[in-house]
Amino acid sequence: MRPASVLLLATLLLSVGSLSLGQEQLSGPQPASGSERNEQAALGTTDFLITGWAFGGFESSQGKNSNFSSGVSPILLWKLGDRIFFESEVEISLESGETSVDLEYAHLAYFLNDHTTLGVGFFLTPFGSFRERLHPAWINKLPDMPLALDEESGIAPTSSLGLQARGAVQVGAVGINYALYVSNGPALKTEGEEAGRLDFGNFRDSNKGKAVGERLGLLLFPELEVGYSLLEGKVGAQKTEFRDLKAFLQAVDLNYVKTIAAVKGRLDVRVEWVWSRVDDATHGIIAFHNVSSGGYAQLAYRPSQAGAKAIRDLEAVVRYDALRLPKGAPVSTDQKRWAGGLGYWLGPSTILKAAYESLRTTDRATGETTTTRSFLLQAAIGF
C-alpha cells in the first residue's frame, strides 16, 4: 500500500474514532426491557427486503438495426440488528442476444454512530451523484445514460471493491455529507481500440497501489446540493513498463429540485462533469496526452400542480451531454449530444418515456463529423 493510502486510512480511522466519542447514539443498541426482549425473540432480529427496478426498451438509431432491450435489477437488503446492514444489487439484462448478469454492489455496512458508517465489499463508487443515486431506470429521466457516466463507454467509476466511510452532519442550516474510500481502483487498458482508457470493472488489483477517493457534498439549502469528488491511484499493471502510471479523476455535481408555485410544478436540475487524467506513457500505443472529460446538464419539469391529472403526470426533460476522448488515442472522438424527452408517470415509481436524441461525433484526428439521430422508448418500474 502506498504512503498516500496509509495516510488516508489513518486519517479515516482517526475521524471515525473522534466521531464515536461524545456523540448522542441514536443508532446504537438500547437496553431492552424484558417484554421487549421477548417480543424481539418472537419476531426475530433479521429483517429482509427484496426491492429493485426493471425496464423494457426500444431504440432506433440511424445506420443501425433497431433493437428491443430489457433488464431487471433486484436489490437484496438485510438489516441484521441496529448496526449491521447488507445491501446487494444484481443487474440482469439482455444484451447482444445474450443474458448478462452483473453484480452492481454487495456491501456490508456497519453503522458506527449517528454520523459515520463503515463499509466493506463492493459498493457504488461515491464519485459524483448520478451513479450512486440517479442511474436506476425509474429515476433516470431519459431512457439512456449520459455518455461520460455510462458503465460501458464512460470515464467515471461505477462500483468499487474496497473499504469506505461515509456519513453526514448538519452544521447550522448547511448539511454536509462525505464519503472516503480505499479500493482496488481502475486498471489501464493498454491494448486494442480502448488502449489508454480506464477499466473500472477491475476486480483484481493490477498493481500494489490502492486507489483513494472521496466525495464531499454540501446542502447549502434543502433543495440544492453541490458536490466535489476525486479519485487517485496507480493504474498500470505491476509487471509492465506502465506500472508507475497514475490516474487522477475529479468531478463536480449539482442537484437542484424544487416545486415552485409560480410555474405550477417541479423543476429538477442535474449537472455533473468529470475530468480524467492519466500520466503520459513514454512509448507504445498509449503514448499520448491522456486527458478526457465529459458530463451532462439536464433540466426536467413536471407540472405537478396543474389542474388536469393527465398534465400533472407528464414530465418533460432536456439534456445536453458530452464526452471528449484524448487526441492521439486509438479512438479519439469528441461527442456532443442533445436529448429531449417526455415521460408519463403511471404511478410514483412507474414511468413511460420517449426521447429523441441527436449525437454529433467528431473524429479528433481527421476532423470528420457525423450526426446520428435516435428515437428511444422505455417503460421502467421501481418495486
Binding site: 498516500a4 488516508l8 486519517t11 482517526l14 475521524s15 466521531l19 466519542l21 456523540q23 448522542e24 441514536l26 443508532s27 417480543e39 424481539q40 419476531l43 429483517d47 427486503l49 426491492t51 436489490i75 437488503l77 438489516k79 446492514f85 456491501h107 455496512a109 454512530n113 454520523h115 463499509g119 450512486e132 440517479l134 425509474w138 429515476i139 456519513g167 453526514a168 452532519v169 448538519q170 452544521v171 447550522g172 442550516a173 455529507n177 462525505y178 464519503a179 472516503l180 483513494v212 472521496e214 464531499l216 439549502f221 434543502p222 433543495e223 446540493e225 476525486l230 487517485e232 442537484n255 429540485v257 416545486t259 417541479r266 405537478s304 400533472r312 408517470w345 404511478g347 410514483p348 412507474t350
Partner: protein, 125 residues
C-alpha cells in the same frame, strides 16, 4: 502530498464539526411541499399526513426522498419493510441517524392514516 492533504482535510474537519455542533439538524428548514406523485388522492393524503405529523419528519421526507425520486406511498411497504428500506436510504441519501428516525416515524404515522382507507397492515413491532 497535495492529494493527501486534499483527502485528509475534509476527513479531519467533518468529525470536528460533528463533535462541536451536535444535533443542530432540524434548524433552518423551509416548509416543504410534497414531491409530485401520480395519484391526486395519494398526494392529498400525503399533505394531510405531513400536517398531522408535524414539520420535522414530513419535511425531511419531502426534502430527502424528493431530492432523487418521486415519493412512494407509505402504504407501499409494511412497517418492518420500511425499517429495512430506510436503512438502505440512510446509506444512499447520506442521512444521519436522527433524520432516518424522523422520516421512519413520519412514514409510520402517515401509513396509519392511509390504512384507514387501504385496510389492515402489518403492525410495526
Amino acid at each position: 502530498m497535495r492529494m493527501v492533504r486534499a483527502l485528509a482535510l475534509p476527513a479531519l474537519l467533518l468529525p470536528i464539526a460533528a463533535a462541536t455542533v451536535p444535533s443542530a439538524c432540524s434548524s433552518g428548514r423551509a416548509p416543504v411541499t410534497p414531491p409530485a406523485s401520480a395519484s391526486r388522492a395519494q398526494e392529498k393524503a400525503a399533505i394531510t399526513a405531513v400536517k398531522k405529523a408535524g414539520k420535522a419528519g414530513g419535511q425531511l421526507w419531502g426534502e430527502t426522498c424528493g431530492r432523487c425520486h418521486n415519493f412512494r406511498s407509505p402504504a407501499s411497504y409494511n412497517a418492518k419493510e420500511w425499517d429495512v428500506a430506510m436503512r438502505h436510504m440512510r446509506l444512499r441519501a447520506y442521512l444521519t441517524a436522527e433524520e432516518e428516525k424522523a422520516i421512519a416515524e413520519f412514514i409510520e404515522s402517515a401509513s396509519d392514516g392511509e390504512s384507514q382507507v387501504a385496510g389492515p397492515r402489518t403492525q410495526r413491532r
